[in-house]
Structure formats: C-alpha cells, structure tokens
C-alpha cells in the first residue's frame, strides 16, 4: 500500500513541481534556495529531482539560467521566460479546474 501511495504521489508531484517552479521563478532563484523555500512551505522535494527538471525547462525555453560567480562559489540563477509565463497561465487554469472538479465531487458525495 505504501509503495502504491508513493508511486501515485510521485506522479502527482511531477506535474505540480513544474508548475511550482514556474511560479517561484517570477523572482530569480538558484536550485538550493528553491529547495529551502519549498521546504519552508512544507513541501519536500527530492533534491536530485529539481536540477534535472530545471535543465529540462531551460532546454524548452520556459526558464532561463545564468551562472553568477559569487564570492564563495558559482551559482546558477534561473528566471521564468515569456514562454514560461504563458505555460504557467495555462497550467494554473488546468489546476484550478481540477481543484473545482475534485471539490464538487467530494461535496456531492457528502450529500449522497
């Protein structure tokens, strides 16, 4: 049962994390800062999942990355692009619609 839950949770998280990244990157941020920010919000992200996702989003032109040579070490900062904003708007609509559907069905179930 735990394995089954874990598999479904991973599936759900995959899409949600993309949306989350596109929202968070309205302000420039680098990988580790994002992991911490998500954790502070109570959302645990597998560290080794975020970086490949950032790379894929960058390849698709949805976010843009830029290395910055800080005092201690170089960090890659990312920001959402115009294409990313467009994608985010579409995804948010789907997410809202899904949320409405789930709430509606749960409400109907309670009255049944």
């Amino acid at each position: 049962m735990d394995n089954e839950f874990g598999a479904v949770e991973t599936e759900m998280k995959r899409g949600f994390l993309q949306l989350l990244v596109l929202i968070v990157l309205e302000k420039d941020a680098y990988g580790y800062a994002m992991v911490r920010a998500f954790r502070d919000l109570g959302y645990e992200v597998e560290e080794n999942t975020l970086y490949p996702l950032l790379r894929r989003l960058e390849k698709r032109g949805l976010i843009a990355g830029k290395w910055e040579m800080g005092e201690e070490r170089p960090r890659k900062f990312y920001a959402v692009t115009a294409a990313g904003r467009e994608m985010r708007a579409g995804l948010l609509q789907i997410w809202k619609k899904q949320d409405e559907i789930v709430k509606h069905i749960i409400k109907e179930n309670k009255h049944a």
Partner: protein
C-alpha cells in the same frame, strides 16, 4: 577540493559520459551539495558533506534523472521479441538441417549465413543461432521503436505459447507426492550412475555377472556419453525436487539451462568420435553398422530435444525478466 565529493561526482559523470552538458550538470550538483554541507555559511564540514552526498542519492539513480527514459524497445513491441526470435530460430533450424543434409552453406545476405556444418558443429551452432536470431529481432524492434511510427505488428500463432507467463498452478498433494516419488527414483538412478562411473569411468557396461562387468565403450567416448547422461539425470533430479517443494521455478529454469548447455557440448564431443573406434568389445560388422545408425540418430534426437529445451528455458527466463 573535497575528495569524497569529487569521487561522487566522478561516479555520476561516468553514467553521463558523452553528454555535452555533463560538466554543467556536475557543477550544479557540486554547488548544491557544498551549499547544503555549509549550512548557509562557514567552512564545509566533512561529516555534513558526507550526509549531503548520501541524501542526494546513488550516482546511477542521480544520472538516470538526466537521461531520456526512452525504452530500447517500446512496451507494445516487447512481447513480440521472443515470439519473433523463436520464429526466426525455426527458420534458421530448417537451414541448419539443410546445411547438414546437403553439406552446403546457405546465405540470404545480409540476414542469414549457415556455413557447411558437420554434426558436431551443427549441435554447437544451435544456441549461437538462437542468440543471433534474438539479436536480429531485438534490433528490428529497436529500429521500429526509434522510428516512432504507429505500426501494428502481426502476432503469429504457432507452437507452444512460450510468451505467456502463467502463474504457477496450485499443485495438489497427490501431484506433489508423485513428483517426490519421481524425484526419489531419479535420485536413486543418478546415484547408481555416479557409482558405476566412479568404479568403471563409464555407465555403459556389458556382462551379466557383476564380477565380469566390462566397459562397452572405449574410455574417452564412454566417459563423454556417460557424463552427458549423468549431467542430464542430475539436473532432472534437482528440477523435480524443486517442483515437488514448490521452490523457485526460475532456479529450476536456470539449472535446466546450464544442464542443457553442458549436455549439448558433451553430445557434440561424443558425435565427433570416430565410430569404428568407439567400442571396447568386438562386434560383428553388421551389428556395428546398425549400432552406428541407431546411436547417431538417438544422439541427434536427444541433442535436438535438449536444444529445444535450452531455447525454451532461455525464452522463459528472458520473458519473465521482461514481464517484471
């Protein structure tokens, strides 16, 4: 420079060889782990660094997240792999038989080449032919997968459906007892065979009085044929015991596979022996001619059965692996 971190990155890099963004990926990971190990500020603590590396995950798993997870063969085609390989092998078998009977080589360039074969070479050629057919079927399905086209492959129905991975049927107590009795008899026969082999270096003996038992065959061919039979008997015994106790069917398949391979080699070596110098006892020429035919046909029949069993076991094992 942190040796443990660099070793870890090197391991991840190994799985990303050939990718142009390899260094950048490693730089991402290096930055993340160092940042985490520092805990925000100050020098990097070695214990924290180890913890951060462990939390990031096993190198192969990490690298796989960057790789395109495209399958080598599309799931829809995977069930065709063994079906097509078995079909190709059947065609191959016909050509091998022709090469043997007509003493000719056959070529269908670039798909098939069967050289002129002797009996020994033909027996040895069978497992290799199956591997070649399996490779050809896998390559064709891989190319179809890569093409990305919507293709509905035919599903030929023939022979026993080895592709079906059926769950183990529940065995009744009577069936188990029968299998156990069979295993016991096989064990006794194998033990007797081993005893004879230890005493006479062969299991083929003539003479009615135990004091006058003599080997029927000369030492080398006698040893080879005896070993082939003993290997098959021992494997059969083990497989029966495994079935009787409902233990691993997979293990039974592996044991069968190894025994089949060993038996094929030993039968091949036996068939290579000059027949005239096979017997340790004097036989009249007419009986010798009959024996020659009978023995060759019997050994070839056994070799064919063993080869089929070997291929069937290989298919079962591979299919189960794919089904998991």
């Amino acid at each position: 420079m942190h040796k443990k971190l660099e070793t870890y990155l090197e391991e991840i890099g190994h799985f990303l060889s050939g990718r142009e963004e390899r260094e950048e990926i490693l730089a991402d990971i290096r930055g993340h782990i160092l940042e985490k190990a520092m805990g925000g500020n100050g020098p990097v603590d070695e214990a924290e660094l180890e913890k951060a590396i462990a939390a990031y995950g096993a190198p192969r798993r990490v690298a796989e997240k960057y790789l395109d997870g495209r399958p080598v063969i599309a799931p829809a085609f995977q069930r065709h792999l063994f079906r097509y390989a078995t079909f190709l092998f059947a065609v191959h078998l016909v050509f091998i038989a022709c090469a043997l009977v007509f003493k000719q080589s056959f070529m269908v360039f670039p798909f098939l080449f069967v050289p002129r074969l002797g009996i020994f070479e033909a027996v040895m050629y069978l497992p290799m032919a199956f591997l070649a057919d399996f490779g050809a079927a896998a390559l064709a399905l891989h190319l179809l997968t890569r093409s990305g086209k919507e293709i509905k492959l035919p599903w030929p129905k023939f022979a026993v459906d080895l592709d079906e991975v059926k769950p183990a049927a529940a065995r009744t107590i009577a069936a188990r007892i029968a299998t156990l009795v069979g295993a016991g008899i096989m064990l006794a026969l194998t033990a007797l065979g081993v005893h004879l082999y230890a005493k006479f270096s062969t299991i083929f003996l003539i003479g009615f009085n135990s004091e006058k038992f003599r080997p029927l065959l000369l030492p080398r061919p006698g040893q080879l044929i005896s070993l082939a039979i003993l290997v098959m008997m021992a494997a059969g015994t083990i497989v029966l015991f495994i079935k009787a106790f409902n233990a691993s069917r997979r293990l039974a398949c592996w044991i069968d596979l190894v025994a089949d391979g060993s038996a094929l080699v030993l039968i091949g070596l036996t068939l290579r022996q000059p027949f005239a110098s096979l017997f340790a006892v004097h036989l009249p020429p007419r009986s010798l001619a009959w024996l020659h035919i009978t023995l060759t046909v019997s050994l070839l029949f056994i070799a064919l059965m063993v080869a089929i069993d070997l291929v069937a076991n290989a298919v079962r094992l591979g299919r189960k692996r794919l089904a998991r």
